[in-house]
Symmetry: C2
């Protein structure tokens, strides 16, 4: 089983080491991890911008097509919610009828993070109301994970945030995904 | 043609008026607009949280199944990118092979918004690198729109942000979507 390893991990300064560690964890559980790192990114980034981004998009979609499941890093990224590109990919797997799994290294619930965000960067309109429902993110995200893969979004077990690039919650998620596919 | 009207519009204090205005604009162009407002939200919110969010999720997915296209409001929401629930829905339509259209009321490109965000709320790790490519959001988003619907993400034409709930860019998007489906 090939798993698309979606997440903001691709933006890490040590993205290749992180991807290698994730692939090794997946292998322990019989899963072939496929991180959306473009191996020829150096070449791609020499292209004009309008060609470069399309080359990355098409390669990512091609990799998604090859994978039977997604294991998404849903740790919040530059806002109250998970990384935006990751969310498009999460929805794509759900729409394709492929299995959806996810985890986050952040323990704080969505409602608390949203309130903290708005306290620092006010909304453009007063009275914007997003229900938290005690969930880790906007309900479409745990919904896609629970209805798409049959498991909850995995969170730090003791309620304490992990480092942004920690891999223990990822491993718990991979192990559970491997048992269920 | 039924269009799923995704967006953070559902969180507006006047969400029902906004939805009615969007439906009227769609009707001008021969499109049946379906906003993901749960008409029995008052009843749903009396349920326990774990039942309420699942009821909303399942009703939204049911509405998405009924619609042939998505017209997504991709205006940034509580972060550098578009609303998180909207992005899951955008990806779902792409994965389903249904047509994808989108617009934003924000003219500033993603790279500038990301830099402004990080200046106020620093990243958890130094050196996180997201290429902007001159795009309105993470490349998966204009990618989903361009490859999924054949049109770009519609933006304010004169480079000036519209109000969060303005509808002129939405109307431009609806008119173009109507011509292309």
């Amino acid at each position: 089983m090939k798993a698309y390893l979606a997440g903001p991990d691709v933006f890490l300064p040590n993205a290749h080491e992180n991807a290698a560690a994730k692939i090794a964890i997946c292998a322990k559980y019989g899963i072939i991890g496929r991180p959306p790192l473009n191996e020829d990114i150096a070449r791609i980034l020499t292209l004009p911008e309008d060609q470069a981004w399309r080359a990355i998009y098409l390669k990512d979609i091609e990799m998604m097509e090859e994978c039977g499941i997604i294991i998404a890093n849903l740790t919040p990224f530059r806002g109250a919610s998970a990384d935006s590109g990751t969310l498009v990919e999460l929805g794509w797997f759900l729409g394709r009828g492929k299995k959806v799994f996810g985890y986050s290294n952040t323990a704080a619930p969505f409602a608390a993070r949203s309130a903290a965000h708005v306290a620092v960067i006010p909304d453009p309109i007063r009275g914007l109301a997003v229900e938290g429902f005690g969930l880790p993110d906007n309900l479409m995200i745990p919904g896609a994970v629970e209805y798409g893969g049959g498991l909850p979004v995995f969170l730090p077990p003791n309620g304490e945030d992990r480092a942004f690039d920690a891999l223990d919650v990822f491993e718990t998620c991979v192990a559970a995904a491997a048992r269920s596919v």
